[in-house]
């Protein structure tokens, strides 16, 4: 969004969208207790500590000011407009952010890039800690939503929802799902049950969902001595909670684990050999008490490491900082993402498997715009594929053009 021309064009399009689709803007529960924040096109500043008594007032404000991004607080306050320490915190929704940025996919090396802010040195993939050219630590990063990344985020979202339903006992209508408008999903719980959880308790919930600090000895892994012999017992596939998850993850891991993966866990060479050679027998043993006594030389410690690795396959990769923050500002559903021009759009939990962000988040459905594209990878919008583009003028459907303009990868051609 460098050129003033582009910005005024994008703003005009956003303005047009909001004038026709203000009813799509979703009011959060107890709107009067929420803080709202907006970033504006013109000054590129953040306006915070706003509040609205009714959804109509908020919609009017958005139509009038046409912000580039609209946020609301996950927290409820007595005085949402007051200074931070005078707002009077009443509670906060339990909120999860799943973003492809946090999920390592093979494709980000292909489509993501970065440039050092001090020397303009460029590279592909995720930005390094330090610029290899000048040692700078600050970068402009350009990331793209792609099919693979979005799919990876969906898988994590499904795992998260399963834990919330099965383990935390939340009901599907207490859970709100949405596409973030860029590279991930948001999952929010607006229930009185979770309202007053403090940051420390939310941290424990985060660790539960990410499997952080899990130890198999608390999930049934044990060694029993009878006379001179020892037998190992462990979790079963159909056990509830993390117990069953750890067992299922271990099953999945052992199904595919290569010798080098097993070795990297610190397991001895001869044991690794046996694990690989006996793979079928081990998988079969889950029907009868589990594999715990099928591998010679593999004790409770080694199994502990394998189970831990298995558990990591069952955990959901969420942004841990967002959930613990009880004052977080979150993009409002039904508004446009300033970096993509896509809609943040809600959908019911039951649709998580079939929801198509590249189709359903499209806000601009009519017309075409001619733009000059610097560089962009192949992109899908709806049922059509566009690009890749490199230094070329092209006429594109409005949504695709706006997307590239918002990304700063294109400019408007008269």
């Amino acid at each position: 969004m460098s050129e003033p021309n582009n910005i005024s064009f994008i703003r005009e399009m956003f303005s047009d969208f909001y004038s026709k689709n203000a009813d799509k803007i979703e009011p959060p529960k107890s709107i009067e207790n929420r803080e709202f924040g907006f970033s504006l096109f013109k000054e590129n500043v953040m306006v915070r500590h706003k509040s609205f008594a009714r959804i109509e007032d908020l919609r009017d404000f958005i139509k009038k000011n046409v912000p580039s991004n609209v946020y609301y607080s996950s927290a409820y306050y007595s005085f949402p407009e007051a200074k931070m320490d005078e707002k009077g915190w009443l509670g906060s929704d339990l909120f999860f952010d799943i973003d492809a940025d946090h999920i390592p996919t093979k494709c980000n090396k292909m489509h993501d890039s970065w440039a050092c802010k001090s020397c303009n040195f460029e590279g592909r993939g995720k930005a390094p800690e330090k610029c290899p050219n000048c040692g700078g630590e600050s970068f402009d990063e350009r990331t793209w939503p792609c099919e693979v990344c979005l799919e990876a985020a969906r898988v994590e979202t499904i795992k998260l929802i399963d834990i919330l339903l099965e383990d935390f006992g939340l009901s599907a209508d207490e859970i709100k799902c949405s596409f973030s408008g860029h590279r991930g999903y948001h999952v929010g719980v607006e229930s009185d049950i979770v309202l007053e959880l403090d940051a420390l308790s939310r941290k424990e919930i985060v660790d539960y969902i990410t499997g952080t600090g899990i130890d198999a000895v608390f999930h049934g892994l044990d060694e029993i001595r009878s006379g001179s012999s020892k037998i190992i017992v462990g979790p079963s596939l159909d056990d509830p909670g993390w117990r069953g998850r750890a067992a299922r993850g271990t099953y999945d891991f052992l199904l595919r684990a290569s010798a080098s993966e097993l070795k990297s866990l610190g397991i001895k060479k001869n044991v690794v050999m046996e694990l690989v050679e006996k793979r079928d027998a081990i998988l079969e043993s889950w029907r009868r008490g589990g594999p715990w006594n099928t591998v010679r030389g593999l004790g409770i410690k080694g199994w502990g490491k394998i189970i831990q690795r298995g558990a990591s396959l069952q955990s959901a990769n969420i942004d841990t900082v967002v959930t613990v923050d009880i004052h977080r500002l979150i993009r409002l559903p039904g508004t446009l993402h300033g970096k993509t021009g896509l809609l943040k759009i809600s959908f019911p939990v039951s649709r998580v498997e079939e929801f198509d962000p590249q189709k359903e988040a499209i806000a601009f459905k009519a017309g075409e715009v001619k733009v000059y594209v610097e560089e962009a990878p192949e992109l899908r919008f709806g049922d059509e594929i566009f690009g890749p583009f490199k230094s070329q003028a092209v006429t594109l459907p409005t949504q695709v053009a706006i997307f590239l303009l918002c990304k700063g990868a294109a400019r408007v051609v008269d």
Binding site: E129, E166, D167, F168, G169, L170, I193, V194, E196, L197, D198, A199, L200, S201, K203, E204, I205, V206, D207, Y208, G211, T212, G213, I214, D215, F218, H219, G220, D222, I224, V233, P235, S236, D239, P240, G241, W242, R243, T320, V321, V324
Partner: protein
């Protein structure tokens, strides 16, 4: 149904307060000669809290009269309020809560449920077995977290618990320990040093004499936070984990061994004076200056093998539940000391 003997064991329950009201007991009545045994037991409760290690108020049904037990508890709350010391407040609440814990551990399951419900817990008898373990109780996860989230032992992490449909499955011992924490906080909340100004003079005098008589046991040194950082240590540069541990120390919250080791090794490594670190530990309810000094000097490499210790790296801290969640800089480093040095360098550069 709760009997008088239950109330003697658990005098913080609302029914005990009703009993106190029914007996028409007031602050003024404490001063009447008839009530001398009550005031005496109240003082004893506080003295036991201050002198026993670990802190614990005693309970012996053969030695202690039930009515005296019920009435001496609110009397002790009044006296502790009059002492107006943060240390005594915390120590007393802990000692009373530990007394309750030891009684609850061997209590009837139904009675435990009844007591827990007085604190608003959503708890029920579960009686299920899984593998080799038996789970007697199921507790709503929010009630669990409210009490367990400050425990640092690995086994208390929610991820290491059996959680099914919103309930955490627990043993009797677990529930007793969680109730100890609930009771401790509840008792702390009942002690109000502001009460001192409206209490009869005789009560305030009794409180003052406890203060004087046990001054040795009351480790409360006024110290200010700024002075701690006069040795060039900047609190702004602390990583989130160290801020958390540091805050816990300042608040006198209990830290597990690994937490104490971590913050001590960290502060020593960034150049804080060992004497200042000892002062930091003074607020802990179980502070022992000689032992603390020994341990700090050991970590500093001035004793034993001479090895100077560094704090654990980030993933070890995560495993031990000492990482409160990462900020942007955390994601770029693997060790809390690197975080500090980076921030310091950034400020200088």
């Amino acid at each position: 149904m709760l009997t008088l003997s239950d109330l003697a064991k658990y005098p913080f329950l609302p029914e005990a307060a009703e009993e106190v009201k029914r007996l028409d007991f007031s602050i003024e009545s404490l001063l009447q000669p008839d009530y001398a045994p009550i005031l005496h037991r109240a003082e004893e409760r506080i003295v036991e809290a201050l002198t026993k290690s670990p802190p614990e108020v005693s309970y012996d049904p053969r030695r202690h009269n039930e009515n005296v037990e019920v009435l001496s508890f609110p009397a002790a709350i009044i006296l502790v309020s009059a002492v107006a010391s943060d240390y005594v407040k915390k120590r007393f609440a802990l000692a009373e809560a530990r007394r309750a814990y030891n009684l609850l551990k061997v209590e009837d399951e139904e009675k435990i449920v009844e007591i827990a419900k007085r604190f608003g817990w959503r708890i029920r008898l579960a009686g299920i077995s899984l593998g080799l373990e038996k789970f007697d109780f199921a507790l709503h996860f929010v009630d669990y977290l409210r009490n367990a989230s400050s425990f640092h032992e690995k086994g208390w992490k929610l991820v290491n618990r059996l959680v099914i449909r919103g309930e955490v499955y627990l043993s009797k011992q677990d529930v007793a320990r969680l109730l100890q924490e609930e009771i401790r906080r509840y008792i702390e909340s009942k002690i109000d040093p502001k009460m001192r100004s409206i209490l009869p003079e005789e009560i305030v005098e009794r409180a003052n004499s406890i203060r004087k008589g046990y001054a040795e046991n009351i480790r409360e040194e006024p110290f200010n936070i700024e002075s701690l950082f006069s040795s060039g240590v900047e609190s702004d540069f602390l990583p989130p984990c160290m801020k958390e541990l540091y805050g816990a120390l300042l608040a006198g919250r209990h830290l597990p061994h690994i937490g104490r080791f971590t913050i001590t090794a960290f502060l020593l490594n960034i150049g804080m004076d060992p004497n200042l670190i000892i002062d930091l530990f003074r607020k802990s309810a179980d502070f022992n200056e000689r032992m603390t000094r020994y341990q700090i000097e050991h970590i500093a490499g001035q004793r034993g093998s001479g090895t100077k210790y560094v704090p654990p790296k980030c993933d070890t801290l995560q495993t031990h539940g000492l990482c409160p969640g990462m900020d942007d800089l955390c994601k770029r480093v693997r060790h809390p000391l690197t975080y500090y040095l980076r921030k310091k360098k950034r400020r200088a550069g």
